[in-house]
């Protein structure tokens, strides 16, 4: 589909993505390859998935997606995830960016400390890649790092070891070395794509803080297109051959009219130099195994005379087949395809003439006919379309030198977590768990309205409700804010309930308990319960009652109170359950790794 070929209109794709998808799926006679693609994200991936799907459908690949929970790429990769196991991905894409770098060098760090930091960061990624390779034995695509949008050290950010840019460049070198020495592992070069897009426009802090998109939403089509190139190359959807026009495509002028001595090629003037660079670009494809053919409306004699010029980079020998005649070009290309026994749809047809392009495009389904524009844009438009994306690394190309061995040893030596608690401890988590405070009222109300999954009663509250509860002495309120070595997660947990005198007992009813899914499996719910119990005891409360009200979305917390050491005292037919914790009995804390207050 033309709208999905470079130069495409990113705004159009973003705005019309649903209509485009409908149109793609409505095409007839497309034989799709079906692939399962897991996206493990260190930031929001929703639109990346949707736009990637469009480009893949256009390439004849029908993807089924698995998306990790927000920022759960490390956990899913290293510790596994039953859902992901069941999904059995054909390909895993790890979407991390410079936003996911846990620590950058401090200006006070010594060179040795920075070396350690590099090893730590690499160790983490190598652990991901190693675990994925072992568990799924599938293709892995990993982003490298984009350059930061600010430079604390100015130009020295590049050269000084304390510079973020210096640090990122070192990491990118290491990613490169890993890719060179591992099969089925590819780098999605966002360092390049973001530079093309404009580093400052790419890093849109507004989109990061509002939506947790690590790149500007407007840049997603460029990002997804680049990623799609690798995927389609892996699944054999690359183009195989060029069909090239000659006059005003390979040289300036018309060889039949102007004579071979007057066409623009060589180094005599600007136009000639421009066409020479283009010929060099085309010729370089030969070494990649791309077949060069000609489809030109010319007398063959004139066509060959053009190529015979001593300053023509492309020679007759460079072409597998030359069709220079007056037949329609679609017929010539179809015949060429038959002669070399490849599909006509595996050609890229390059012609400066829009009429010829339209004809060929209409007559040969699946052929690529880029809108090459003026001669000075030929290279960019061919290149940016990634028709021949290179992924295959032949045996000889794999560098088995010291690098491979050294990497293996580093991976072994770097911190490897043998159990989950150890991993949790490595996160260096600290929590602030306190009664509702004025500064967080809006966030607390928002969480009660947005959280669906980790939410025991799904009680929705306005900010006014929250403020009222906070001042009521009958209530215990708690918010939890969690920080770890990667940053501050903000307020992620909320609980409140009320006291009730009941004979000699003093009961406490938990009215609301929720947690943001971005901190699942961190033990935050246990740290919260510890604080609740300690506050309840200080109020001489003897029993705590918890309630689970089932909804379509909160199954994950069905046994929440059981895990917290409560006893189930009632369960209704609709799944609603009541739980009791007797504070006179000892309670074992489930929190292993979070330092509180």
């Amino acid at each position: 589909m033309k709208q999905l070929e470079y130069p495409y209109d990113s705004d159009f794709i973003l705005r019309k993505k649903k209509a485009i998808k409908r149109e793609l799926l409505a095409r007839e006679g497309i034989q799709y390859v079906e692939k399962k693609i897991a996206i493990l994200g260190g930031s929001t991936t929703s639109d990346i998935k949707q736009i990637l799907e469009l480009f893949l459908l256009n390439y004849g690949i029908r993807p089924e997606f698995f998306e990790s929970e927000y920022n759960k790429y490390f956990e899913d990769a290293v510790f596994g995830n039953p859902e992901l196991d069941e999904f059995a991905p054909d390909l895993v894409f790890v979407h991390t960016t410079t936003r996911n770098i846990a620590r950058f060098p401090a200006v006070t760090d010594s060179p040795e400390q920075i070396d350690v930091l590099i090893e730590e960061t690499m160790g983490r990624f190598e652990q991901i890649w190693g675990a994925l390779a072992e568990r799924y034995k599938c293709t892995v695509i990993q982003n490298n790092f984009e350059q930061p949008f600010y430079r604390l050290l100015g130009n020295s950010d590049f050269t000084n070891i304390h510079g973020r840019l210096n640090f990122i460049n070192r990491l990118n070198d290491r990613f490169c070395a890993y890719a060179q020495s591992h099969r089925n592992f590819f780098i999605n070069d966002i360092n390049y794509i973001s530079a093309v897009y404009g580093i400052k426009k790419w890093a849109d802090p507004g989109d990061w803080y509002r939506y947790k998109y690590a790149l500007s939403v407007s840049a997603i089509p460029d990002f997804a297109f680049n990623l799609a190139h690798i995927i389609k190359a892996v699944y054999g959807k690359n183009k195989k051959a060029f069909a090239l026009d000659m006059d005003n495509t390979l040289w300036g002028g018309i060889v039949g009219d102007d004579g071979p001595e007057n066409i623009k090629i060589g180094h005599e003037d600007a136009e000639s130099e421009l066409f020479t660079e283009f010929q060099q670009y085309i010729k370089a494809h030969k070494d990649l195994g791309i077949l060069l053919t000609v489809a030109s409306k010319n007398d063959e004699e004139n066509a060959l005379a053009g190529l015979a010029r001593p300053d023509s980079t492309l020679k007759q020998d460079d072409f597998l087949i030359i069709k220079a005649n007056w037949d329609n070009k679609d017929i010539n290309i179809a015949n060429t395809a038959k002669e070399i026994n490849i599909g006509a749809d595996s050609f890229v047809f390059v012609d400066d003439n829009p009429v010829e392009r339209a004809l060929v495009e209409n007559q040969i389904p699946g052929i690529s006919v880029p809108e090459v524009g003026a001669p000075e844009t030929y290279i960019d438009i061919l290149d940016s379309n990634g028709f021949f994306e290179v992924t295959g690394i032949s045996e000889e190309d794999i560098k088995r030198s010291g690098m491979y061995k050294a990497n293996m040893e580093r991976a072994k030596a770097s911190a490897q977590f043998t159990n989950y608690d150890e991993y949790l401890k490595s996160l260096e988590m600290t929590a602030e768990i306190k009664p509702f405070a004025p500064v967080y009222m809006a966030r607390i109300a928002e969480l009660t309205n947005k959280s669906n999954q980790f939410n025991l009663t799904t009680k929705r509250c306005s900010q006014a409700d929250i403020e009222k509860i906070a001042t009521d002495p009958k209530y215990i309120t708690l918010y939890g804010r969690l920080e770890d070595k990667f940053g501050d997660n903000g307020v992620v947990a909320v609980a409140f309930g009320h006291e009730e005198d009941f004979g000699k007992d003093k009961f406490f009813h938990i009215d609301l308990w929720l947690m943001s899914c971005r901190v699942l499996k961190r033990g935050m719910e246990f740290a919260m319960m510890d604080e609740l119990i300690s506050e309840a005891k200080s109020r001489n409360i003897t029993k705590i009652k918890g309630y689970y009200l089932p909804t379509a979305k909160n199954k994950m917390v069905k046994d929440f109170y059981g895990l917290q050491g409560f006893e189930k005292i009632r369960e209704m037919e609709d799944g609603t359950s009541e739980w009791l914790l007797d504070l006179d009995k000892p309670h074992k804390s489930g929190n292993v790794a979070i330092k509180v207050n």
Partner: protein, 80 residues
């Protein structure tokens, strides 16, 4: 651009983003009125509106919008 003209273009954006040619919005339209207008589609909506009018909302402007009327107020302010 008059408010009416803005609504003309805005309706097209809504129709494209939510893939429903029958959508028309007005000052009092809120997210709950439009099928599929959740937090993720909101992002696309904002980007499409920005591109359509050639403006860029500040971060603060896009998080507190109460209804479409307020969005149009912001668009008018940007178009100056």
């Amino acid at each position: 651009m008059t408010r009416e003209e803005i609504y003309g273009k805005l309706n097209e954006v809504f129709q494209d983003v939510f893939d429903d040619e029958d959508i028309t919005v007005n000052d009092s339209t809120v997210a709950a009125d439009v099928d599929g207008w959740d937090s993720l589609e909101h992002i696309n909506l904002i980007v499409a509106v920005e591109r359509c009018f050639g403006i860029k909302f500040t971060m603060g402007e896009t998080t507190g919008l109460k209804n479409v009327g307020e969005m149009v107020d912001r668009i008018i302010a940007h178009l100056g």
